[in-house]
């Protein structure tokens, strides 16, 4: 199935992004507490609160989302990613709300935090590199409704479907999960890049503020 739907990413963009990430991370080599001072200051930001709208789906994005990282591992613009997920939710008549998770960079825990903040109990976690999960507030952290572990295979169409399916869970419909995709060569191609992006994301964690409203 993986081969059938060609993921439209531009090889050049990927290289550009990765080069940028490597350059930035490398620049900080040897320096203790590398991102100190570079980290965003969220002390004035609005701490996210639990929603009451039963039609709400909360999207929890990673700490580096749209600040230190602007594109997913395969070059998708994070603003567009967010637009697609929101559009998918709205198409089904539900209401998206975006928060930035600052207490964890683990996608499952991010998704669970989003679900707990969501008025409906359904949430989505999206790491800055693109890895995504649909979660529900009463599930175990490492369980999920749907998981998309291979970020390089994600397309804008898939992100729209993620939005749509999450909204369908809110409505209590009998949901057919998005068709699973798999590329056995993802690891050799992307694992080092994934590590570098995740290191960057993890460096942006904030011990003091667990999550904030995010309207970028």
């Amino acid at each position: 199935m993986a081969g059938e739907k060609a993921v439209k990413y531009n090889e050049q963009v990927i290289e550009e992004v990765v080069a940028q990430v490597i350059k930035e991370v490398m620049k900080q080599r040897g320096v203790e507490q590398t991102t100190q001072g570079k980290k965003e200051d969220y002390s004035d930001a609005k701490v996210a609160t639990k929603g009451t709208d039963p039609k709400e789906v909360v999207i929890g994005v990673g700490p580096a989302f749209q600040t230190q990282i602007h594109r997913t591992i395969n070059g998708l613009d994070l603003g567009q990613v967010l637009d697609e997920v929101k559009a998918g939710i709205e198409e089904e008549g539900m209401h998206p709300r975006v928060v930035k998770i600052l207490k964890t960079s683990d996608v499952c825990f991010m998704g669970l935090e989003a679900a707990k903040l969501s008025g409906s109990g359904i949430g989505i976690g999206i790491q800055s590199k693109g890895t995504t999960v649909i979660h529900q507030k009463d599930l175990y952290p490492l369980s999920n409704l749907e998981l998309f572990p291979q970020a390089p295979l994600m397309s804008l169409e898939t992100y729209r479907k993620v939005g749509k399916n999450s909204a369908k869970y809110v409505k209590g419909e009998r949901v057919t999960p998005i068709t699973v995709e798999n590329d056995p060569m993802t690891r050799p191609k992307y694992q080092v890049k994934a590590a570098l992006m995740h290191i960057k994301e993890t460096e942006c964690l904030d011990e003091k503020i667990p999550y904030i409203e995010w309207n970028a």
Binding site: F109, S143, N144, P177, V180, N182, R187, P188, Q191, A195
Partner: protein
């Protein structure tokens, strides 16, 4: 610059699509030794470890404390730690020093000492060490059995085929996590159709996996992950103590367990604390032992892309496999994840475990085409079956597999698919049509099978859990549905849980449900003429490949 045609050609080689990175200890991108690794040390007072690898007790993190309190033998520590690491390494490759003596020495060493010992050995010496230190006398192998559609009928057929091909264990996982109850059940049934006594597991979220095990729908568990730094444990809401409780929960129900860890996981989580992959893995192995697990699945496992990207990365992978055996743990030695575009490189990586033999050379080998492998691809897949059989024959090495005939494969695939069809019907689950069965029997992968009603399956799987269906219900459904022999096998697998002998280190079951473990069939290798030898019936089996040239045809 005008391009050299030689260099242009080389740039197109598969190996140049792989990712490599220079050593970067500050972020943990270093295989065997980081300048920030601690020096081995120990201080014992009143039978208590007061200092471990340069850290005094009051500064222990919870990993240090766990290791100090539950793993290192205080009565042996001072003597073992006083021995030079080089001397211990030499004893390990010395055929005149028995395995037992090495285990005794290593029961008194620290994680940093273990890493230092491994660092003294090159890959050939590490292979010699593995040949001697592996717990079970004969090597084994494990398969992955998965498909993109989470189709339980295909799972059962592939499980049957893999069992027939010689795998001792089979592991499945899901694309859609909620399929877990169906996947576990299909694997249990299919495996017993292919070869009685094959152990099965379903890799899922920990609580789900435990529930499936308690119900008798799996016969072992493997995905209890441990890590080499405290922060990674904390991020996962875990500690060495919580893992010990989980291990005890399995043991209390008579289920075999091994833990999982490996090089690169801390790097990937951004929490390597500047330490080498080998040192962090040594800490994991000590935690594994202290938690009471009989064994480990290690060798970088799913983080192999990280380990393989740094210098000496694949030497480190074998090194950590050997480290496990030095602590007396069963070693299920990875080789289970794709890491390279280069067929040469991926073969070379596997030979390090294939030649000496490990308890399970792969953890596991993709029993399906890699496009269907939901562990994101294994290092070898179903397309490599014949190559693997020929390599066993070429080298006279037991890699755990055997050549099979097409007609017998079709037969067990059909029987397994039909058995699942009957069980689904009798348990009132979703429908399995005759057309689905027929497509699966002859399929290479899920591209050749019919689609199932996924939403319907998920409702039925949830219902199956709500109704409390257990392994005994499966036995009854099989027996009443006309599959008495399969019912008998599944029942025998459940009986193992009561007997408990297969909880011993490195245990597998033969086709008569006899346990073969490191306890009743220990590795007694002490040089040429000793230990496990490929001979007799097993050698005849390996020799009997299908595509022989017949002199009488000419």
């Amino acid at each position: 610059m005008k391009r050299s045609k030689r260099f242009e050609t080389l740039a197109e080689r598969p190996v140049n699509k792989d990712g490599f990175i220079e050593e970067w200890p500050e972020r943990g991108f270093v295989a065997m030794h980081s300048p920030y690794d601690p020096k081995p040390s120990i201080k014992i007072q009143n039978g208590k470890v007061m200092e471990l690898d340069g850290v005094p007790r009051e500064k222990f993190d919870f990993i240090d404390q766990f290791i100090a309190d539950y793993v290192i033998r205080p009565d042996r520590a001072e003597k073992s730690m006083a021995m030079d690491s080089l001397e211990i390494a030499r004893k390990i490759v010395d055929i005149n020093v028995p395995r037992k003596e090495i285990l005794k020495i290593c029961s008194g060493i620290t994680p940093a000492k273990l890493a230092e010992i491994i660092c003294h050995m090159n890959v050939v010496e590490l292979m010699m060490a593995m040949q001697k230190m592996r717990a079970r006398k004969m090597p084994g192998n494990q398969a992955h059995v998965t498909n993109l559609k989470d189709d339980p009928v295909q799972l059962a057929a592939d499980a049957a085929e893999c069992a027939l091909r010689g795998f001792s264990e089979e592991e499945t996982t899901m694309g859609v996590a909620r399929y877990a109850p169906f996947s576990a059940m299909a694997l249990l049934i299919g495996s017993q159709v292919g070869r009685r006594g094959v152990l099965t597991q379903c890799s899922a979220e920990e609580a789900t996996e435990l529930e499936l095990g308690i119900r008798g729908l799996t016969t072992y568990a493997e995905t209890l992950s441990v890590y080499g730094t405290e922060q990674v444990f904390v991020d996962g809401d875990d500690t060495p103590y919580s893992k010990s409780f989980l291990n005890a929960a399995y043991a209390s129900r008579g289920l075999k367990v091994r833990f999982t860890s490996g090089a690169g996981s801390e790097v990937l989580m951004g929490q390597a604390e500047k330490k080498s992959m080998l040192y962090l893995e040594c800490r994991c192995l000590f935690v594994t032992k202290g938690a009471g697990a009989q064994g480990t699945q290690n060798g970088s496992v799913s983080c192999i892309g990280i380990a393989a990207s740094v210098p000496a990365g694949l030497r480190e992978v074998l090194g950590e496999n050997v480290a496990a055996t030095l602590l007396g743990l069963e070693c299920c030695s990875s080789n289970d994840q794709s890491f390279s575009h280069s067929p040469m490189r991926r073969t070379a990586r596997t030979m390090l475990q294939f030649f000496p033999g490990t308890d399970y050379i792969f953890s596991g080998y993709a029993g399906e085409d890699n496009y269907d492998n939901l562990f994101a691809g294994s290092n070898f897949d179903a397309n490599d079956f014949d190559d693997y059989n020929i390599m066993q024959r070429d080298m006279q090495v037991d890699g755990g597999l055997r050549p099979v005939r097409e007609e017998e494969v079709i037969e067990v695939r059909r029987k397994a698919a039909k058995a699942v069809q009957v069980v689904f019907k009798r348990l009132g689950l979703s429908e399995v049509t005759d057309e689905q069965v027929e497509a699966v029997v002859y399929a290479h992968g899920s591209k050749d099978t019919l689609n199932r009603d996924v939403a319907g399956d998920l409702v039925a799987a949830e219902d199956m859990m709500k109704r409390g269906i257990t392994g005994i219900d499966v036995v009854r459904a099989l027996a009443e549905g006309g599959f008495e022999d399969v019912a008998d096998s599944v029942l025998n697998m459940l009986k193992q849980r009561v007997v408990g002998d297969y909880l011993q280190t490195s245990a597998i079951l033969d086709e008569n449900f006899n346990v073969l473990s490191g306890v009743n069939t220990p590795n007694d290798y002490m040089g040429p003429g000793t230990g496990y030898r490929v001979e007799g019936k097993r050698w005849d089996e390996i020799k009997a490949v299908d595509n022989l040239i017949r002199p009488e045809d000419f």
